[in-house]
Structure formats: C-alpha cells, structure tokens
C-alpha cells in the first residue's frame, strides 16, 4: 500500500462529496432559515435553495455549476511517516474529479485567461499544510466559488479602532458585498497576524461547522453579535431583501504587530461546501463530514 495513493483516492472522494452533498449542519441552517425568513421573495429563494440541494443529494450531481477552485487543508501528523508524493496526490485528485464528478473547469491563466481545462495550474490546487502531533493525517477540502471569493476584504485598521472598528469593518464588508456572494453567506473573519495571515485565518475559520461553538468564549460572543448585526442589514437571501443575510460568522485570530490591526473578511456562499477525512498511517480512512456510501 502506498500512502500517497490512499491520500489521492481520499481527496478525490472528498471533492465529490463536497460538491454534491452539503454538510448536515449547512442543510439544517438553510432549512431553519427557510422556516424563519420574513420576506416572501426571500423565502422563495430559500425554497429554491432547499429544493436544489435535495436534487443534488438524490442525483449525486454538483449542486452548483461553479464548483469553485479546490482548496485543501492538510494536517500531517509528525508520526505519519513519508510525505513523498503527497503534493502530487492532490493535483491528481483534482484532475480526476474534473472528469469524473464532473467539475466545471474554472482555472485560467490570469493574463491570457486561457483555461487549463482540469482545474489545476500554477499554484493550483492550493494546499495549506500544517504539521501537528499524532500519527494520522487529516485532510479537508473547500470548493470555493468565484462570487464569494470576489468580495473578500482586507482591512489594515489602526490599533486604536479596537473591537468596535472590527465590527464596523465586518458589517461594511457585508453591505459592500450585497447580493454578489449569494447570501445567505457564512462570513469568515480573521483578526490579527499579517495582511495575508488575516485572510488565511478568516478562510480557515470557515472549516468549523455551523453547529460548533467557538471554543474561545470571547470569539463565540463576537460571532453571535456579528451574526445579529449582519442579519439586521436586511440584505436578505440573494440580496432581494429579508431577515437572513448570513447563516453564521466564524472567527479566528493571531497576534499581530503593535502598529497594526489587520482584519480579513471572506465569504462562503450559501452552498458552504466542505468535506473532511482522517487517514491513519496504516492507510485506513475515516470520513468525518459525510457518511461513505
């Protein structure tokens, strides 16, 4: 058994699960939003959304034509053993998924706009590596659509602007984004670090399920408050007005320079797709987000 082959097969399955079947917590949040939405037009949007993800689940087909750029997060246990071939494994998984799932070919060369045809290319798929304690390897995939990505915001706030400034920046970013990221969205917020770190923290925060409270009590409170403020904007489902603009706010933080207060805000559309698995060093695979059929 070669571990890189197991990783490739697992990564392929994760991509397929992610683009065809929303995680249970997201489905539940959308169904709850459908029940509670006050606007008639907004409710109709949520009705379409629920009907659409049900169709995707039944048919095993991608629920949105924008299957995104595929991003992987990998936590490699220090005792996992060889990492040989792992980088290539993710490229191989995306190529195969593009044909077999299928995925829409979304990767283009930025200057000529020529499509690579297989969702890979220079820097793609993006893989974020982290070394952790333990013997296993965990991998998560997030297919990230273009509409949500295009409204990402970075604020290099002044330190004196404080927590109030952070809240204001997040609310402003949501209002500026309006209908474009396909609300109801999940908003990721990264506070601190460097400029790129703040955005990276925000994005990684999206991995935490909507029904899992932030272990940091201070952030858990902020997330709840921000969600309330965002839903008070009235942007609503698809920006057509209503009481559901976000399904959740996910936050993370890092220490930052004494002169800075970076805030990264990223958006995941209502199709908040993700999947996750754990691979043991003897090659056993456990799917954490989706039950293996």
């Amino acid at each position: 058994m070669r571990l890189d082959r197991v990783v490739e097969e697992t990564a392929f399955n994760l991509v397929r699960f992610a683009v065809t079947d929303l995680p249970a917590d997201v489905k539940e949040a959308l169904e709850q939003a459908y029940r509670s939405e006050v606007s008639e037009i907004g409710k109709a949007q949520l009705g379409n959304i629920v009907r659409n993800f049900c169709l995707a689940g039944e048919g095993g087909v991608p629920l949105c034509q924008d299957t995104g750029l595929i991003e992987f997060y990998v936590w490699v246990g220090e005792g996992f053993g060889s990492v040989r071939g792992l980088g290539e494994a993710f490229v191989g998984a995306v190529r195969r998924a593009t044909v077999e799932v299928p995925l829409r070919p979304n990767a283009v060369e930025p200057f000529t706009r020529v499509n690579s045809g297989d969702n890979t290319g220079r820097g793609l798929p993006r893989v974020v590596w982290e070394f952790v304690e333990g013997d296993g390897l965990e991998v998560a995939v997030v297919p990230k659509g273009g509409g949500g990505e295009n409204v990402s915001m970075l604020g290099m706030l002044g330190p004196t602007e404080g927590v109030g400034g952070v809240k204001r920046f997040v609310v402003d970013a949501v209002i500026e984004a309006g209908a474009r990221p396909c609300p109801p969205v999940v908003v990721g917020v990264g506070v601190g670090g460097s400029a790129d770190q703040a955005l990276g923290l925000a994005k990684r925060a999206l991995l935490r399920p909507l029904d899992e409270r932030n272990p940091d009590a201070r952030l858990a409170g902020l997330e709840e408050e921000l969600l309330e403020l965002i839903n008070a904007t009235g942007i609503g489902p698809m920006g057509l007005g209503g009481s559901t603009t976000a399904l959740g706010v996910r936050m993370d933080w890092a220490h930052c320079h004494t002169a800075s207060l970076p805030v990264g805000v990223v958006f995941q559309c209502w199709a908040a797709r993700r999947a996750r698995a754990r691979i043991s060093r003897d090659g056993r695979v456990e799917y954490l987000s989706h039950r293996r059929e």
Binding site: C64, R104, G178, G234, G241
Partner: protein, 207 residues
C-alpha cells in the same frame, strides 16, 4: 402582497417586456443564450468589426451563466447551470441591449445604473434567479440547441438552450425604472445607521 405570475415564450416583443413589473414572477419558455464576460466582449467586438453574430439574440433570454455540461454520445447535456454575478457585465450590457435586443436578462445580484437606463430605453427587464440553484435550471433545459465560441472555454462560451418553464424568475429591474435592488439598498442604508448606533453604544457601555 399578491404576486403577478407571467408565462412567456420567446421571441418576446418589446411590449411584452414592458408589461413586466418589479416583484412579478416570470416562467420563461423557448430559447435563451448564455453569455458571461467573454461572450459579451466578443459579440460587441464582432459588432464593431461588422461581423454577423452566429444567431440573432432579438427577443431571446440572455442568461448570465457558465453552465456545467457533459457530452454523451456526441450530444451536449447541461448538468448544472445557475446564474453568475451580473455586475461583472455592467460595462458591456447597455451596448449589448441596444445592439442585440434580448428582452429578458437573467442573472443574480442585479446591475448598475447604465443597464437600468438601457432597460428603459430599449424595452427589456432584468430577472433574478436563485444563485447556486443550478440543478433547477438544468431541470428546465429541454435541449442544447448549439454552442458557439467554445474556444473561450466551457463557462465563457455562448450556449444556446431551449428551456421550458424556466423559473420562477423574479423581475428585479423593469423597463419603467422599477428596481428591487435599489429598494433593498435604501433599506440597508437606513438599517446601517441603526447598526452603527448599536456598535457605538456597546463600545460606550464597555468603557
């Protein structure tokens, strides 16, 4: 609020387009084309160069979408085709409407003031369909009539689709200046003031 429901079949006349009002629901049947950034640019470039389009867009639905397709036994099939963000086409749409006269734009997120003016001037409407609900669209597609400009890549190509009962589309910008997005934006600006007050008050109570 009672919603007026319309069922239209292409080709759609200017008069028919002008009858639609903001918040109405529309079910569209007949021919639609998909066009994103690149297909808009090429159509307008060909117009400048005096080259004829592969087909007339007059009276058709113009769908901002990059469909996901598959080819089975030489036949194209739409797997999933939700709308894309229409705002990206804002620089091009007014000229497109004037030159080619599609009557029903379908997209998501709305468009800007230049498109709004062109809708009034040339008699067309902008409809919103739920972003991401691409399987509901695929369900309404009866046949892929053709594809042009495939060299632009699958999402950016011009797909010609025959649809049946595509909807419910929400009329969000009409030919009389009605604009659902502007109404929502006005409300959002009012709400923003209250939200700022809440943030401010909380800051004060903390100190």
């Amino acid at each position: 609020m009672t919603v007026t429901v319309h069922r239209y079949r292409t080709p759609i006349s200017e008069d028919q387009a002008r009858k639609l009002r903001v918040s109405d629901e529309l079910y569209l049947s007949g021919m639609i084309i998909t066009a994103r950034d690149q297909a808009h640019m090429r159509a307008l470039k060909w117009l400048e160069e005096g080259k004829p389009l592969p087909l007339s867009f007059e009276g058709l639905g113009l769908f901002h979408s990059g469909p996901m397709v598959e080819r089975v036994d030489g036949e194209w099939r739409v797997v999933c085709a939700g709308p894309t963000t229409s705002a990206r086409m804002e620089d091009l749409e007014a000229r497109f409407l004037e030159a080619f006269k599609p009557r029903i734009i379908i997209g998501k997120g709305g468009m800007g003031s230049r498109t709004a003016e062109a809708l009034r001037n040339f008699g067309a409407v902008y409809c919103s369909f739920t972003g991401g609900a691409g399987l509901l669209v695929a369900d309404a597609v009866r046949e892929v009539e053709g594809v042009e400009w495939l060299d632009l890549g699958v999402p950016e190509a011009l797909w010609v689709l025959r649809v049946e009962g595509f909807g419910p589309l929400t009329v969000a910008m009409d030919a009389s200046g009605g604009n659902l997005y502007a109404e929502v934006a006005k409300g959002v600006q009012e709400n923003k003031v209250k939200i700022y007050e809440r943030i401010g008050l909380k800051q004060k109570s903390r100190s």
